[in-house]
Amino acid sequence: MAVVTYVEAIRQAIWEELERDPAVFLLGQDVGTYGGAFRVSAGMLERFGPERVRDTPISESAIVGCAIGAALLGMRPIVEMQFIDFIGLAFNMITNFAAKARYRWGAGVSLVIRGPSGGGVHGGPFHSQNVEAWFAHTPGLKIVQPATVRDAKGLLKSAVRDPDPVIYLEHKFLYRRLKEDLGEDEEILTPIGRAASRRAGDDLAILTYGAMVHVALEAAERLSREDGAEAEVIDLRTLSPLDDEAILGAARRTGRILLVHEDTRTGGLAGELAARVCESAFEWLDAPVLRVTAPDTPVPYSPPLEDAFLPSADKVLDAARRLAAY
């Protein structure tokens, strides 16, 4: 029996990679003595020592910059943002230094930046953001977001071994809500760049990722129960590079595409997905491509406000119905 939570899967992934490769190290605010604001690195300082589990000053740009420098010399840093919202402070380092190094001068930067993202825990405007769209637009970066416990582990281990910078977005709403038996023996590695189908269905396809996978699954079940229509649910897992085969395949199979993300609407990833579908699978489309996303506002704090803000199974069901009926 090895039933673990999503957050524990993250901890295991880091732990195993630290064990496997002496080049791997972890740095971030309070990751050492305290074991991280969400206890992701609990016990690591004791096991791996202060050289490899490094408490940092509150200097996001320098933390990432320093990780880049170490990575250039073959180290494999994992940077923790205490909350992913703080990644904006390292925006220049990430998009201009890390992302462009290989293209400019052939220098690979093997670097993972990870941190708690997303809403649903009443964290307010600065502890709830989804940052994938900012970085999905930057060539040279990879972005992953696990929706399951297994992928939480498997994507992180793959990210650490990836030769390029990977932004690993963990959804804090799932931290302790998701549990899964990961077995004991097998090494879990989720390939970067590949989506996963979480539910079969021929009538329409919902493309989504992160916490919204579970919202979409709930909506799909209700759609099946209440309307007898079957929605495929695709968990993108990797947000950059996108898995075109899975995306376009779903469009071809179902002709009806519903895009769902927790991030705000305008300029969100759903736009890119819609464009790819309309560009390359237009002839298979039987209906408009619909989006269910958060509205274009900061993430509000108070529960009724945040509930109104976040995409819900109701909203997804509603859109799925319109699509199925089109």
């Binding site: 605010q29 003595t33 000053p57 402070l89 405007p125 900061p298 704090y301 108070s302 406000l305």
Partner: protein
């Protein structure tokens, strides 16, 4: 008042008895508001984390008290005391911490993340350091208009490592802005001791590099904090530029209520407990004949009663309607807050 040896000492208090008692009252109120918040937290009424300035009341209150109306402040999460000095009412804070519609952000933002320019307060963002350039900009606006207002903000020892600390303070210095930065060196940034964040923990030593005046002050001595700030304000108003004040103090609780601060050595807590800023001012007032123990004791009850009423008000006030989630992102997009404010009428936070 026993201060660690190398701290700046106030010699004669130029504060009147009334002012001294007011300082005492603000610190007491600061602590009692936080006590009440703690109780609400344990009752599960706070939405999100609860942050405390227990033990640091003197830095917030003493510095804010040296300001005049029109002087702008950018309070951080542990500067509740400064908000009280600026006229923010406890019920606003209770509503805000409980995510109620009657709070100053209508439930849109968390804890002390609210502002009111009428009362000179800027809402912080979570990202440490950001207030420093922003308050410098407010000082710039005052300077450009020929007003003699100053702008003041606080930063923790941890927050001094941000790029914004450096860029903001340097800009304020280069432009000789009427700006004051109070660094609350309270020994820790979350779990990380100051000595792990920087090679030289005497933060005042940074002042010279920026070409600004630096003062190091016992942050648990409200009179010393007041005087250091008052001097800085005086210099700022005369066009002599910014001051960096390092207030040496201690965070007596965990980073937030969820944190038991098991990483803090007990001796350190004991050392600082003996230097509690409220107890120290109390002793000073009594020893110097400004007030009797009884007089000071008598201050607590009325405050408690007021806070009880405010907490009740907040507890019985509703969560915001979902409609308040939208609008007011940009001007003219149908901000629902105007109407909500009217509907709240005299029981709303603006009353």
């Amino acid at each position: 008042m026993d201060a660690p040896p190398d701290l700046l000492r106030h010699t004669t208090a130029r504060l009147s008895e009334k002012q001294l008692l007011e300082l005492y009252r603000f610190m007491l109120m600061n602590r009692l508001v936080e006590d009440r918040l703690g109780k609400l937290y344990r009752q599960g009424k706070i939405v999100g984390g609860l942050y405390s300035s227990f033990g640091q009341e003197a830095t917030s209150v003493g510095s804010a008290y040296a300001l005049r109306p029109g002087d702008k402040i950018g309070p951080m999460i542990r500067n509740l005391g400064s908000l009280l000095v600026k006229g923010i009412r406890p019920r606003e804070i209770f509503c805000q911490y409980m995510a109620r519609a009657a709070g100053p952000t209508f439930g849109r933002d968390v804890n002390l993340h609210f502002g009111d320019l009428q009362r000179d307060c800027v809402a912080p963002i979570s990202m440490l350091g950001a207030l420093i350039p922003v308050l410098a900009g407010m000082a710039l606006a005052a300077k450009m208009r020929g007003e003699d207002h100053v702008a003041l903000t606080w930063i923790g020892d941890g927050g001094t490592s941000t790029g914004d600390f450096h860029e903001g303070l340097n800009l304020a210095a280069a432009w000789k802005l009427p700006f004051i930065l109070v660094v609350e060196n309270n020994g820790y940034a979350y779990s990380t001791p100051t000595g792990m964040q920087m090679a030289n923990s005497r933060i005042v030593d940074r002042a010279q590099g920026y070409g600004v005046r630096g003062d190091r002050v016992d942050g648990n001595d409200v009179i010393a904090v007041y005087h250091a700030t008052a001097r800085a304000v005086h210099r700022a108003r005369r066009g002599e530029g910014p001051t960096l004040i390092e207030a040496v103090t201690f965070r007596m609780r965990g980073h937030a209520e969820h944190d038991d601060a098991g990483y803090v050595p007990l001796e350190l807590v004991e050392y600082w407990r003996a230097r509690d800023p409220i107890a120290r001012l109390r002793r000073y007032l009594v020893v110097n004949g400004f007030a009797s123990e009884q007089q000071l004791d008598a201050m607590t009850e009325p405050i408690r009663a007021e806070l009880e009423a405010d907490a009740e008000f907040a507890l019985s006030s509703p969560f915001p309607d979902a409609a308040l989630a939208r609008g007011g992102v940009v001007a003219g997009d149908g901000d629902p807050r105007g109407a909500a404010r009217l509907a709240q009428g005299s029981s709303g936070w603006l009353s």
